[in-house]
């Protein structure tokens, strides 16, 4: 099966990766681009040479994208702030709804992402840009995604890795409730839609917590809503040691299940095929927004939408092309995603399954049931060793049981939300089944983690 987009994405990613190691003056980059374009033009009729030149050009495009992303605009507040906190008055738009978060010191406070629009210098307001992490006082009032705010506080540069990967240049701390106020604004259709999704997320979380115990609600929120904070350290460690922690991350498994449930539901309505595909694609996008739009779920959603599009167009679906298109889409929007561990693991696993599973299936018969599990495990092995200093030999065997069980657990979870959404009492039977299944999953993963040689770390 061909996948030209996969090769293009690999070259693009290589260019972005190179930009993290090499600094090239713009003149040299322009020169290389011209040489590459000339080589591609001259070798246009000679297949192999032209393709090499195009791949090199694609890598240079990735390099250029990363360079542009790393250079802040002229009006960016990043050029004005320092590591020492400074007072600032600014207006901006909330890029996320405020949430409670625990600082490393243990102190809990509200925070949200803020996209700056103007800052005050002297008497005048001047245009500014940049994203900051806003810390709000506890009694600041109710704000949500898309609200325009005027505030005064202290801003400081934060050059940490997590901040850099998030695209933020610093933190802005507002200490007093009186120093922040909402400005009148007309929320756009997109903002209203996002707010509804966030409200739904809150309602589902509350519903789950009212029907399940702590462990059950941790599984429900982790498997279906993308919130992994409810798991105990021991349980998270057991999942990590068995190489099954990916089931706790909303990704392809969830998207596949949402798509399947959507197909089954829509088949009863007897709608036209194209309408079904459109609705499923819209459902996948909504689910992606509901669960936080991390790179693994973004990857799965983009591939799912392409699958719907190819089915609607009556064309054959190419897994390689879809993977490449998803990578190009995510990296083109945010080149920093390449450094995200979730991005690397997600794409490596799917790439490994697409590449290696057909070969493993042709091998010894005993390996056939393990083809997908072994392929994914081999693909992510170097990444796990590099990032986490961990090797999990038990993972292929553990995943053979955990993945199907987790899939059933997710299906019961969706049923729980559906029934409890109509009336909480209707969700009680599903809650009982979910609690039992979650307990079995915990026991199973813990059992696998205790095997001698289940994992090695250094």
């Amino acid at each position: 099966m061909r996948g030209p987009l996969a090769y293009a994405a690999a070259a693009f990613a290589a260019g972005i990766g190179l930009a993290g190691w090499v600094t090239l003056p713009p003149a040299w980059l322009g020169l290389f681009l011209l040489i590459g374009a000339a080589a591609a033009l001259l070798s246009w009729r000679r297949g192999a040479a032209a393709n090499i030149a195009l791949a090199a050009l694609m890598a240079m495009l990735g390099f250029l994208r990363a360079e542009v992303d790393a250079r802040p605009p002229q009006d960016s507040v990043e050029r004005l702030i320092a590591r020492e906190p400074r007072p600032i008055a600014a207006q901006g738009i909330l890029a996320s709804s405020p949430e409670w978060a625990r600082a490393p010191s243990g102190f809990v406070r509200r925070r949200a992402w803020l996209t700056l629009a103007v800052i005050r210098q002297g008497e005048r307001w001047r245009a500014a840009s940049g994203k900051v992490l806003l810390y709000l006082p506890a009694r600041a009032g109710h704000f949500s995604y898309g609200d325009r705010l005027e505030l005064a506080g202290e801003i400081r540069a934060s050059p940490g890795r997590w901040m850099r990967l998030s695209g933020a240049c610093g933190t802005l701390t507002v200490s007093e409730a009186g120093a922040i106020r909402g400005l009148p604004s007309r929320p756009s259709v997109w903002v209203r839609y996002r707010r509804r999704i966030e409200a739904l997320h809150g309602r589902l979380t509350t519903l789950g917590r009212s029907l399940l115990d702590q462990e059950g609600s941790a599984y429900l929120e982790g498997l279906l809503l993308g919130n992994r904070q409810g798991f105990s350290k021991e349980l998270a460690e057991a999942f990590r040691k068995t190489g099954t922690v990916h089931v706790l991350v909303v990704s392809g498994l969830n998207v596949g299940l949402v798509g399947f449930l959507g197909m089954v539901t829509l088949s009863f309505l007897r709608l036209p095929r194209n309408a079904c595909h459109l609705l499923i694609a819209a459902g996948l996008i909504s689910y992606c927004l509901l669960t936080g739009s991390d790179p693994p779920i973004l990857r799965a959603t983009l591939m799912g939408v392409l699958l719907c599009a190819s089915a609607a167009a009556g064309r054959e679906f190419s897994g390689f092309n879809a993977l490449g298109a998803a990578a190009l889409g995510i990296l083109g929007w945010d080149p920093r995603a390449l450094a995200d561990v979730g991005f690397q693991l997600s794409f490596a696993a799917v790439g490994g399954i697409l590449l290696a599973a057909p070969w493993v299936e042709k091998g010894p018969r005993i390996l056939k049931p393990f083809a997908v599990s072994v392929s994914a495990w081999l693909a992510v092995l170097p990444l796990l060793a590099w990032h986490f200093h961990l090797v999990t030999p038990v993972a292929p065997l553990a995943n053979l049981w955990v993945i199907p069980w987790a899939s059933f657990l997710m299906a019961v979870g969706f049923l729980l939300f559906l029934l409890a959404g109509l009336h909480p009492a209707l969700g009680l039977p599903a809650a009982s089944v979910f609690t039992w299944m979650a307990w079995v999953l915990t026991q199973g993963v813990t059992w696998f983690s205790r095997w001698p040689g289940a994992s090695f770390s250094w």
Partner: protein, 130 residues
């Protein structure tokens, strides 16, 4: 094919190896795919150059910032964000500025009740007087 065999002669490589690699490389993109990629790349490069034109490279965040609070124009809320100055003192500074006119230097701030030499030392370098 003859050309490929001719090139591989005398290299020590089996003819099939190089032919296989060349065929694989030639099959990555078809002619139409090359055209589409070249077009998309051209548009992307143009867009990136437009966005990135004039941007300077990033630099490490300095210790001290260029943002200074103009004492003669800042609101009480902005003044209250300065270290050592609370809301009440900030309101007194704003009130004094309104009654008695602008402050010309840091020492002028001493005329406001509650502004101590320690506070002046702390905000030195963070304020300006326009």
């Amino acid at each position: 094919m003859k050309e490929i065999h001719g090139r591989s002669a005398g290299t020590g490589l089996k003819p099939g190896t190089r032919r296989g690699l060349t065929l694989w490389l030639a099959g990555i993109f078809t002619r139409q795919e090359r055209l589409a990629l070249a077009f998309l790349m051209g548009v992307s490069v143009g867009g990136l150059l437009l966005i990135g034109w004039g941007r300077r490279p990033p630099f490490p965040a300095p210790e001290r910032a260029e943002l200074a609070v103009d004492v003669n124009r800042a609101s009480a809320t902005e003044l209250a964000a300065l270290p050592g100055i609370g809301p009440k003192l900030a309101a007194r500074i704003a009130e004094d500025r309104k009654r008695r006119g602008r402050f010309l230097t840091l020492n002028d701030l001493k005329r406001v009740k509650g502004v101590t030499p320690k506070i002046i030392q702390r905000i030195k370098g963070m304020v300006c007087f326009n």
